[in-house]
């Protein structure tokens, strides 16, 4: 079992729906420790990403992922735009020439993407950012690989790891992004970007699982 180009299209379409559905919730989280636009930004960006893919023929996974990245960069703005944009652009580059991604291939792609996010945003684990959801997800994929787990099982485990990482942001004091301006007042709130990242991986697990 593996991730095909149509799986990617389905994943992006479903994620756009999930973001729209959780838009208000993401805004609320960002209002508490930021400026209240994360939900709006991601919703606007994912709608553009879906449009972009609809206008794109063919089964080149790298092309699809890069198209999503470009759409996010040019429509999301804020911190999340360049960061999610880079995530997808790097995943695309890492998948060049692949017709489909097996567990190892997907793990490599996601790892490259998260490396890109960190290179751009300079966030370390524990800084209370999307990285706190993304890095555990990569680690979980690697463990699953070790265990020779099936792809769908591995995706579920990476989504669970992301959820755990997201919840772990609650007590943290932010050290990156807008929330860091609050200092101690940022503790006790869940990071919006970590939340949208968990949603991203949960949706993929659901898509592949289906």
């Amino acid at each position: 079992m593996s991730i095909s180009a149509s799986d990617v299209r389905g994943w992006i379409a479903r994620y756009a729906d999930d973001v729209a559905e959780h838009r208000a919730e993401l805004v609320k989280l960002d209002t508490a420790i930021g400026d209240g636009d994360h939900g709006t930004n991601m919703d606007r960006g994912m709608r553009k990403a879906v449009e972009k893919l609809d206008g794109l023929e063919g089964g080149d996974i790298a092309a699809l992922l890069k198209a999503v990245g470009m759409a996010l960069v040019s429509s999301v703005g804020g911190a999340a735009g360049p960061l999610y944009g880079t995530l997808f652009l790097q995943m695309g580059t890492a998948s060049t020439g692949r017709e489909e991604l097996d567990l190892a291939g997907w793990a490599n792609a996601l790892e490259a993407g998260v490396k890109g996010v960190q290179a751009r945003g300079k966030a370390e684990p524990g800084d209370k950012t999307m990285v706190d959801a993304l890095l555990p997800a990569v680690a979980a994929l690697r463990d699953a690989e070790q265990d020779g787990a099936a792809l769908d099982d591995a995706l579920r485990r990476s989504a669970d790891a992301a959820e755990e990482g997201m919840r772990a942001t609650i007590p943290l004091e932010a050290r990156k992004g807008r929330a860091s301006y609050l200092g101690p007042r940022s503790a006790g709130h869940q990071d919006p970007g970590a939340t949208s990242s968990w949603l991203l991986l949960r949706t993929l697990a659901a898509t592949a699982g289906a």
Binding site: D37, G77, A79, P82, R178, Y181, G183
Partner: protein
């Protein structure tokens, strides 16, 4: 949410249409991607200066496009940094062959998007320098934060660098001047009320009737801490002390004093604040040589103010006094 708007998602675009209809003599508006450009751009041989940021801070930045200030501004969605393609479009539109300065307020979103834009512009062979403003003393500049926010000094830097560019100073010179202004400027703000973005429809924070929020940014973020609301004299003492001691500003210094309204505070109160600031600085032997009082960098309808001080020398004063003709700031 009570606002004079149509669709929340259409606010930025419709305001741009209003600006185009109102100020066609001074600026030109591009819609895809959204950019406000000086009517006669690019000015051959002049360094182009662009800035940008989320909308909701009007007149900053779009209101400062015109002779003597900005060549272009990139308006993002409300409180959301604009995107690299807007900044690339602006950079290309204002490049008169002498290179382009990006004045970037220090917010993760603004910085990352301008970085991507600068890379793209350089790929197209345009010389770009970026200067990041970070004058907000409310934020500790440490490894544990995204660094100090860029606030009031940005408006002053746009005015002073705009004047230098009109004199055909080189990109390196204008960029250096921008760093100098940022380096000699400090700001701090406070709020009496939160604001409501069209997108969220909810107050950006809750504040009791007798409380004020100290050390706020310009995006409706909560501040560093809240306190019982005191008289204007105490509020000014609170903000000005933090500012003066940070640089520090010392007896004998000549300064530009900028009392900025966050949007919902009446001008009469800003003059009371200026009175208190004037007394505070007199008490420390600091002379206000120039001043700016009004709503120039706002947070929608938030009530409150920020204070910015810039240490002046003859050259900075001369450039501050140079003519500017923009919708938001005019110097004759």
């Amino acid at each position: 949410m009570k606002k004079l708007i149509n669709e929340p998602d259409a606010v930025v675009r419709e305001a741009l249409e209003g600006i185009e209809a109102a100020h066609g003599d001074l600026v030109r508006v591009i819609y895809e991607p959204a950019v406000i450009v000086r009517a006669d751009a690019p000015v051959q041989g002049k360094v182009g200066i662009i800035s940008g940021g989320g909308s909701g801070h009007e007149p900053m930045h779009g209101g400062f496009v015109g002779r003597g200030m900005l060549d272009a501004a990139c308006p993002g969605e409300v409180f959301t940094s604009p995107t690299p393609d807007q900044m690339l479009e602006a950079t290309k539109a204002v490049d008169g062959g002498a290179g382009v300065l990006h004045i970037v307020k220090n917010y993760t979103g603004d910085v990352l998007n301008f970085e991507m834009a600068a890379d793209l512009a350089k790929d197209e062979g345009i010389e770009v320098e970026a200067v990041v403003t970070n004058d907000d003393v409310a934020v500790q500049d440490s490894l544990y934060t995204a660094g100090r926010r860029g606030v009031g000094i940005t408006v002053i830097a746009e005015k002073i660098c705009g004047a230098a560019a009109e004199e055909r100073k080189s990109l390196a010179e204008v960029a250096e001047l921008c760093r100098t202004v940022n380096g000699q400027g400090r700001s701090m703000g406070m709020a009496l009320t939160p604001c409501v973005t069209p997108g969220s429809g909810e107050p950006s924070f809750e504040l009791a009737d007798d409380e004020m929020e100290i050390g706020i940014g310009i995006h409706g973020e909560p501040g560093r801490y809240r306190e019982k609301l005191g008289p204007a004299s105490e509020v000014v003492d609170r903000l000005a002390t933090a500012i003066v001691e940070d640089l520090p500003f010392e007896s004998g210094d000549r300064v530009l004093a900028f009392v900025n309204g966050m949007g919902g505070t009446p001008l009469i109160e800003l003059y009371v604040v200026y009175r208190e600031l004037n007394r505070f600085l007199e008490g420390r032997g600091i002379t206000i040589e120039r001043r700016l009082i009004g709503n120039y960098i706002t947070s929608l309808e938030m009530a409150g103010c920020s204070i910015t001080l810039l240490k002046l020398d003859d050259e900075l004063t001369r450039l501050w006094d140079a003519p500017a003709d923009t919708p938001g700031l005019r110097v004759c």
